[in-house]
Symmetry: C2
């Protein structure tokens, strides 16, 4: 990849963040919490500054004919800003993930060993439209003792910049140096690319947004990445599935919030179950306006279904459409999920506990469900308090990530002159 230099000095900002991150290391939990609470107050107090900047982004968005959904995500209000502030107050309440002794022991020679959690250092956050990420990510980073470099989407650049300016004014009255929050004020893609290789100053990159953004970061970054993910989630209805549970779970996983990553995108269904319960299934699909893309077998059974192509099995519809695949047995269901799944969340509905065990053992995904909706793969639903994202990678953190995902460890060894 050839990099062109952007019009802002990304490296200088990343270096400032690194320097500030050292100052965060010596702050107490109390000092960090007070800073977060103060930021919350300042955001609420200065909401008009933010709304004025937001209006510019909205105007640009209208000119560019953005979709209503997009405009809604971009749009701020006094209430939404109060929501951001509340988010910061909630994070202040959470347990400090740093300074925790994960294990400690003493060697025979008397050397004392402690494995302690510490901040990662500097987090690079690369995200798309939503301005709330600017506040949320800053809160999580600071609470865990990390500095942050923010690179938001160009459509929200005025809002993001105003939010950061307000937060900088707030930080000036706290123990956290304002340099701990860096905002890359550029709509230039080159600025994002520069972050990809800044290993000396940035400890981890977290992309939040669509598949393309995440792909670009994963493929081009030499800085380690926390991959948050796309979810092509499956509901497998087994031969011995209870019909009521199956239909309730399917409808919930598909329709509760179809645009989120833990929503179901494919129904994999055992042919014997389908034969027996097709009427109930068809009724439920119809009642919930679920559009079916089915294989040939399904087309015979479910009226009005569209013929599914190869792309349907891999597709995240993010709507109330669903792909439906009929299988002869559990093994074929697992093979289908293995081929097309994104290792996010997969569910089996069955009364056969052996089938559920096999599904749990063999399906490779962050979250596996037996007789429950995939919609629970979510930090707040699981009680984590705050969520950085849902990791679909296997290293460091998998599944919903809370504050501990923003820490690493140090081994601290206390001796009295021990040598080997």
């Amino acid at each position: 990849m050839t990099l062109t230099k952007s019009n802002v000095n990304v490296e200088a900002q990343a270096m400032e963040a690194k320097k500030a991150s050292k100052k965060l290391l010596v702050l107490s939990e109390e000092e960090k919490n007070q800073a977060l609470l103060h930021l919350a107050d300042v955001l609420e107090r200065e909401y008009e500054t933010i709304l004025t900047a937001n209006e510019k982004d909205l105007e640009n968005g209208r000119k560019k004919d953005f979709t209503d959904a997009f405009m809604d995500r971009l749009s701020l209000s006094k209430e939404r800003i109060a929501g951001f502030a509340q988010g910061l107050r909630d994070v202040a309440q959470l347990e400090d993930p740093t300074g925790q002794v994960l294990s400690d022991w003493t060697l025979e020679n008397g050397l004392q060993v402690e494995k302690v959690t510490v901040p990662l250092g500097v987090i690079g956050m690369i995200y798309e439209a939503r301005p709330n990420v600017t506040v949320d990510a800053t809160g999580l980073a600071l609470k865990s003792g990390n500095a942050i470099v923010l690179k938001g989407g160009s459509s929200a650049i005025n809002s993001n910049q105003a939010i950061v300016e307000v937060m900088h004014r707030g930080l000036a009255e706290t123990k956290i140096p304002k340099e701990a929050v860096q905002f890359i004020a550029s709509t230039d893609r080159a600025a994002t690319n520069e972050l990809f290789t800044m290993k000396e100053h940035i400890d981890v990159l977290i992309p939040r947004g669509g598949g393309k953004l995440i792909q670009a970061v994963v493929e081009n970054a030499t800085v380690p990445v926390l991959e948050t993910g796309v979810g092509n989630c499956h509901i497998y209805v087994d031969k011995d599935a209870d019909v009521e549970k199956a239909i309730a779970i399917l409808v919930n996983a598909k329709t509760d919030r179809p645009a989120v990553c833990n929503a179901a995108e494919t129904l994999v269904v055992h042919k014997e179950w389908l034969e027996q319960y097709k009427d109930a299934l068809i009724t439920a699909l119809k009642a919930n306006d679920i559009g079916v893309h089915g294989d040939e077998y399904i087309q015979e059974i479910i009226p009005g279904s569209v013929l599914a192509g190869e792309e349907d099995w891999a597709n995240e519809y993010l709507s109330t459409d669903i792909a439906v695949k009929a299988v002869d047995n559990l093994t074929d269901a697992i093979a289908h999920i293995e081929t097309y799944g994104t290792k996010h969340s997969e569910a089996i509905v069955t009364e056969d506990s052996e089938a559920a065990e096999k599904f749990f053992a063999l399906v490779d995904a962050a979250a596996l469900y037996h007789n429950a909706s995939t919609r629970f793969t979510d930090g707040s639903a699981l009680g984590f308090g705050a969520e950085i994202g849902i990791s679909t990678q296997k290293l460091h953190a998998r599944g919903p990530m809370g504050l501990p995902a923003l820490t690493t460890v140090k081994f601290l060894m206390k001796g009295t002159g021990q040598i080997r």
Copy 2:
């Protein structure tokens, strides 16, 4: 990076490994251990096959005029093979890192959540000369339920191939499919490069070897990497350091095994301490044949020291040479380590506990020592039983990595029809 296709079918082998990894998921700890013990027996029984192949590598090495040290690492014997076998038996004794419930809780709606350790899947091991890695890495991979793709250095290709053939014959008599151990029988660099991007089939790459190899993997791989590291370790002798402790620690960290990554490469010394104890230091350096590369200040004090250039501060001598930097205070010492350290192991020698605390808080490294030698950053010294390598990265695993580094987690959710 442009990839040329290698002369072996790397992708087919990686796919076989992935397929085999699924079979490992349903084996019991007992079945995995029995397989390891059997492999140990077979390696000892068939040692002559391995030695014959090793002789070919040694012959090639002699032709290429490899150094004595290199030839020694390459060279096998009946005893060394027995050592490999013992290594497998030791690994069989270790606790299974998979299937461990890290946490479990029940949501208010009754959904039961378990966070359980599971194998990563397929490990890609890219390593240099030492044939022992072929056995060690296989043992650790299989014990943790992972399949492995081995790509060793070309100078040991005959030995490695023979070892894998023997292990394959052994596995045929166990529950572990022999496809779980794949050996890329190619000296072609393109074969290594193919592994870099095989995200679908390989879950993690672990490079073992020199800095250049590790760099190449980190920079070019899209498969996640467990970076094992180079160690430019520092001993900082503070103003208030006890002279006996300081000298014993310095000599041990520098000379015990100078070629390993936890050996000290730079002495950072407080000028006041140096003034007071220079005679003792000079005597110790001389007695232990330690060659000094010092800054101008040091040159005045330590007779026979070579003038250190910028490259000395970053250098891993891996010999009994050492760089020596004089500083005015703790802050400058920390700044020097920050600039040139590799985040591996750093030590402070001092009787001032506040200085030690500051060093622990501010120095960013996997292992920090107060009044002890850096040589303890080692899985066996710390009691981990077996070591995959020493991670100098911050994500997933940091410092000495035992078997748990080869696992990830699954969230297993058991419900009775819960929806959101």
